[in-house]
Amino acid sequence: MEATIALSLDLKGLSCPIPIVKTAMAMKQLAPGQLIEVFATDPGSVPDFKAWSKTTGNPLLESGEEGGVFRFLLKKKEA
């Protein structure tokens, strides 16, 4: 069973790079293995979250869109 979401961030209306910056800041508060979900409306956030996850090693578990709102589910990497 998947762990529950520890933190949910509403970053709708913010343009890049702010969604990445706010997510990186929020990630610092999490313990390894904890999940964070992020809501954003900037279309550029889709490739940005994918690339940020790859670079930093924090897995991007889900990336989806509903009614113009993008949702990303990330897991903090193990230390």
Binding site: G13, S15, P17, V21, M27, K28, G44, D48, T56
Partner: protein, 219 residues
């Protein structure tokens, strides 16, 4: 961006470029937030030996140890750190109750009319629209807002002419050359190859601005 190109020039002129390292630390995995502009400048950065470090969102600076650390967990040593602070709106806007939590005035991105308050418009670096906080933006927005206000005063229908997100700026690329970046909401930037004429155009524009643009002699 212009700073690193001009610093590269300066260090070469001093004859100490080979003894110096220039690193550009970017919040994203590219040099500019706009992809097309990144594609323009990244080859120039590489050609000049300027290293791009992506996804470096500054968390802290240790001025004694001379290191800067990122939220992503990287630490870079420096002799000279040139840091852009996070941009935010003016305190007067925060205090007025007209702004959002970051001090920007929330407006419709086409009419520039406040999203909550009647008879309030905003232009330039006060607005929350997702576009450069630059002088050219204020310039292109000014005529839209002037027409909006005139129509409101006269009780006429709102004008059809709206702000389309137009931005135009010069970008110095060093070695006496520059390019331009011009785009709007629907069109990504298309830039000419860096050339001396754009450097001179920027210099000329800076000298002549007050005699041309505010007087309406240039569009």
């Amino acid at each position: 961006m212009e700073f690193v190109f001009l610093l590269d020039d300066y260090l070469r002129a001093r004859g100490i470029r080979d003894k110096s390292e220039i690193k550009l630390l970017s919040p994203l995995n590219r040099a500019f937030t706009i992809e097309a502009a990144s594609r323009l400048v990244q080859p120039i950065l590489a050609e000049r030996g300027i290293e791009l470090t992506g996804f470096f969102n500054v968390e802290s600076v240790d001025p004694v140890a001379r290191t800067v650390s990122s939220l992503e967990g990287e630490t870079v040593a420096y002799d000279l750190l040139v840091l852009l602070p996070p941009h935010r709106g003016q305190k007067v806007i925060e205090d007025s109750g007209l702004g959002d939590e970051r001090g920007w005035v929330p407006v419709d991105q086409n009419t520039l009319k406040h999203t909550q308050f009647e008879q309030v418009w905003a232009i330039g670096d006060t607005t929350d629209i997702p576009i450069s906080k630059s002088g050219s933006v204020a310039h292109y927005e000014a005529s839209v807002v002037a027409a909006e206000i005139m129509a409101a005063v006269k009780g006429e229908a709102a004008p059809a002419h709206v702000y389309d997100g137009k931005v135009m700026c010069f970008l110095e690329t060093g070695r006496g050359e520059a390019t331009t970046i011009s785009f709007d909401y629907d069109h990504p930037p298309v830039s000419p190859s860096p050339a001396r004429r754009w450097h001179w155009a920027k210099a000329l524009f800076n000298k002549t601005y007050w005699h041309t643009v505010p007087q309406g002699r240039l569009p």
